[in-house]
């Protein structure tokens, strides 16, 4: 489609396709190399479905050794490689280029080791996010980051994008919960960073690799911190007449020294759609809804919820409803976690991920409404209020090219607004292709060059996940300069 330029394929690779595919087939079992059109079709896009591109081939290795063999070969032949987990990226982080091999890790999904005394689990990264928690839940442990797509998304994708989730207000995002990684470098070398212990020696490569959007290497194994589940957890829903009141209430709760495990916000359009989908009992007559969850023993939870209700009372809540049962709590979260899907049932949407300082919330929401009105588009707002991570969903019709273009322009303005307010372009989805060109809004050329130098540390030929993260022109200029 419209706005975002695709990566130009290298003609010398396309012309050698048959030879390259034969090479790959020698390295992996036949079923692990997908070359036919219908097979490749499944990998031509991710959750940013507006962009599609058929890759050269898809490989599905089953071990670090197989990944290493593929990488060595691709490095030697100078073939671009696009890593992929479940393909749930909303930023086009797994979008192939025409001359690339998609390296999909979904077959590597085993739990390799669990240690409850030292509280970690070592997994192959093709395992789903929820799969990790499920593997340790019999011992009442869990893995904390919980992106809404946790049923499908893989740990590999979480590592690539430094994924968050509703509960990271208390527990942090992926980078705070990864202890070690095993990674295959572009040249096929296998390297380990960290391990089951904290504060590993040397530079903090874990910080760099987590969130590097698959541009540094293929992570094949991860050692993750697991935590003991709280004794219980319960959400309260508080409805307000205005988003200002809701925002002020959030600030007051935190200001009073209470950091709930999650504080989620929905505006009226989002509430309506989610309620129709989940029947969670969301109030339909409010402008803003907070879902606030606290954890602890049942008595501790009751005390905290009472305190939160008392604080909220100062901001004229229209409804206050504390979940009374496990079933009610599950329904409340089901509505929230299925929000994107629920809205997807009624319209195509473009999901933003900007972050703002909480104090500018009312201004941000008012400006977002203005921007969307200007572009003649509807918007539903859902976000992680505790940390100011906004998810405006801009509704549009994907079959209308002109409207698609408007949606993208509208999104761009929303993200620029987030940066202007002191926030950032993306809180948990990543830059991908989607926000690549906007990077120069947040960073100057010196900042971007420093980041690109780090990319070159790992992948000097720039073969890994091409066309993501940096504005295309900046990439070209950097590579031409080559210092």
């Amino acid at each position: 489609m419209s706005g975002i330029a695709v990566v130009e394929p290298k003609p010398e690779i396309l012309s050698k396709r048959d030879k390259l595919l034969n090479g790959l087939k020698k390295l992996l079992p036949a079923r692990a190399v997908v070359t036919d059109e219908s097979g490749r079709r499944a990998f031509e896009t991710d959750a940013l479905t507006a962009y599609k591109c058929m890759p050269l081939a898809v490989v599905l290795p089953a071990s670090t050794e197989e990944v290493s063999a593929v990488m060595r070969f691709c490095h030697f032949m100078k073939i671009r490689v696009v890593p992929r987990g479940a393909g749930t990226s909303l930023a086009g982080g797994a979008l192939p280029s025409e001359d690339s091999v998609v390296l999909c890790l979904s077959r590597m999904n085993r739990v390799l080791e669990t240690n409850f005394d030292s509280r970690y689990v070592r997994v192959e990264v093709g395992i789903t996010n929820l799969g990790v928690s499920n593997a340790v839940s019999p011992m009442k442990f869990f893995y904390a980051p919980d992106p809404s797509s946790q049923l499908a998304c893989t740990i590999g994708g979480n590592v690539a994008m430094n994924s968050g989730g509703a509960h990271c207000l208390k527990y942090g995002v992926t980078v705070n919960n990864v202890l070690g990684l095993k990674m295959v470098m572009m040249n096929g070398e296998v390297v380990e960073f960290g391990g089951p212990h904290v504060d590993p020696a040397g530079y903090d490569f874990l910080s760099l690799i987590v969130g590097s959007e698959g541009q540094f290497g293929i992570v094949t194994e991860a050692t993750l911190r697991i935590l003991r589940q709280a004794e219980s957890a319960r959400p309260v829903m508080i409805g307000f007449d205005s988003s200002e009141a809701a925002g002020a209430c959030v600030a007051a709760i935190i200001g009073r020294g209470i950091v709930p495990v999650a504080i989620e916000f929905m505006d009226r359009p989002a509430i309506k759609v989610c309620e129709e989908f989940a029947h969670a009992g969301y109030p339909l007559d409010v402008e803003a809804l907070l879902i606030i969850e606290v954890e602890g023993s049942p008595e501790e939870v009751a005390i905290l919820l009472t305190q939160i209700e008392e604080i909220a009372a100062d901001f004229g809540p229209k409804t206050v409803k504390v979940s009374q049962s496990e079933a009610e709590s599950a329904a409340i979260w089901k509505g929230r976690k299925a929000a994107f899907g629920a809205i997807g049932r009624i319209s195509d949407y473009y999901c933003m991920d900007g972050v703002i300082p909480l104090a500018s919330l009312p201004k941000a929401l008012a400006s977002i409404a203005d921007i969307c009105a200007k572009h003649r588009l509807e918007v539903a707002n859902i976000f992680h209020a505790g940390d100011g991570n906004l998810h405006p969903l801009i509704l549009y019709n994907a079959n209308d090219e002109e409207e698609k273009y408007r949606a993208e322009s509208c999104g761009e303005e929303v993200l620029k607004l987030c940066v202007e307010l002191g926030g950032c372009l993306t809180g948990e989805h990543g830059v991908g292709i989607e926000k690549r060109e906007l990077m120069s809004v947040q960073f100057n050329s010196v900042d971007l060059t420093q980041q690109m130098r780090i990319k070159s540390v790992f992948d000097p030929d720039w073969l890994l996940n091409p066309g993501k993260v940096f504005p295309l022109k900046a990439q070209e200029a950097y590579l031409a300069r080559a210092d």
């Binding site: 904290v198 935190i254 420093q450 130098r453």
Partner: protein, 409 residues
């Protein structure tokens, strides 16, 4: 090389100018805050010093957004004072690493130095490290270019995470000029359970049990007997027995409940003493300030390992040398004092540590020992290669603290 001068830039611009100038003249620089940790790391061969201590002041503090920014030379105590006035704190409980060595600068530890050393205290096991709470950095790289990464919001995946990569880099990649951290509310009440006279093995198992409970234990430390008398809580110091301490922090009714439950869970570990709020504060302040490491000049190692292997590692080391240990982070962090030896027992220690997937840092030793055996854990060649190349990506002329972490880097 003679140290010609010490520079105290007052702004990021001045700092950038100094570094650009040093690049031009090929003068390697010692980078520091107040030099309180100058005795940690390999000895430097530099031509001049740059201190950030005149770049100070808190630039942003939003209690309801849990965020604070300060110029890197700001005294840590100034930041902690302001936070305390608002009932908040740095949740990683900065560890006063400087107290483990002979303090050289005479000044107060700065926030920049704290992040450059990524020195976290006991609460790290529950709330994460300084690096975890670091959300934004402004810095000057070894080319004299001002760069920024992250920002002032909690969640930010915009571009690579350079900010966190600078934590623990000991001023060898870039000189931080401004630092932004996530902060948390202070707990209303703190209480501590103490198990007495446990073997290291039993202590680690008690601490792991506590950490695996649902009660959010925020400190788990075990002091062998020789360290106990160095504490400042009189009745604990007077015990003259090994001490295993577990901390609970929360609102008071919750602390009542959790302490009672934890007590129950640990009853198989013998007699348990309880410390009230006031004494708990003194005790954990001691731990964070490394009070138990003062008054000794034995070489000191800081070892991180898998918690449930901590005691076995120390026992393997004890078989080779008359060492003594304090365990923090439920066994995952070991402070090990070893008898004086020219190589600070590095050869034996590193061989055994490798068998236990442990990383060992030589914190306290003579300059000669630090120069000859190295300070930071040597890593496999593939990792060292990346370290070399990352250094080059930030500081290609090796101007910033050259050789402090590894020879040639």
């Amino acid at each position: 090389m003679q140290i010609s001068e010490t520079y105290y830039p007052r702004s990021e611009g001045e700092l950038a100018g100094l570094i650009a100038d040093a690049v031009q003249k090929s003068v390697p620089l010692e980078i520091s805050g107040a030099r309180t940790k100058a005795a940690i790391g390999r000895p430097l061969q530099v031509g001049a010093r740059v201190s950030t201590r005149e770049m100070r002041g808190i630039t942003l503090y939003e209690p309801s957004e849990l965020v604070i920014s300060a110029r890197s030379g700001t005294a840590l105590s100034e930041i902690e004072k302001l936070l305390a006035e608002n009932n908040q704190e740095l949740a990683f409980e900065p560890c006063a690493l400087e107290n483990a060595v002979e303090v050289q600068g005479g000044g107060e530890a700065t926030i920049g130095g704290m992040i450059a050393a990524n020195a976290s205290g006991p609460r790290r096991i529950l709330r994460g490290s300084g690096r975890d709470q670091l959300i934004g950095v402004r810095a000057v790289n070894g080319r004299g270019e001002a760069i920024k990464s992250g920002g002032r919001v909690m969640k930010n995946v915009t571009g690579y995470d350079i900010a966190r990569a600078l934590a623990g880099s000991w001023g060898t990649l870039a000189v931080m000029s401004e630092i932004t951290l996530k902060v948390l509310p202070k707990a209303e009440e703190t209480r501590t359970l103490i198990c007495l006279n446990l073997t290291d093995e039993a202590a680690v198992s008690a601490m792991c049990r506590a950490m695996g409970s649902a009660y959010e234990v925020s400190g788990a430390v075990h002091l062998q007997r020789p360290f106990v008398e160095r504490l400042t809580v009189p009745d604990v110091a007077a015990l003259d027995q090994a001490v295993t301490a577990l901390r609970i922090e929360n609102f008071s009714t919750s602390v009542d409940y959790r302490i009672a439950r934890l007590h129950q869970e640990l009853k198989t570990f013998g007699t348990i003493y309880e410390m009230d709020n006031t004494r708990s504060h003194v005790f954990w302040q001691d731990v964070r300030k490394l009070q138990f490491l003062s008054g000794s000049n034995w070489p000191l190692w800081r070892i991180t390992t898998v918690p449930d292997q901590g005691a076995r590692l120390v026992s393997a080391l004890s078989a080779q040398m008359g060492c003594r240990a304090v365990y923090d982070w439920a066994g995952g962090l070991i402070w090990l004092e070893v008898p004086p030896a020219t190589d600070a027992s590095a050869t034996v220690l590193r061989r055994i540590a490798a068998e236990y997937q442990a990383d060992a840092l030589l914190v306290r030793a003579s300059a000669a020992a630090r120069a000859s055996v190295g300070v930071f854990q040597p890593l496999p060649e593939v990792n060292m290669n990346l370290i070399r190349r990352l250094k080059e990506a930030f500081d290609p002329h090796r101007i910033l603290n050259p050789g402090r972490m590894y020879a040639g880097i």
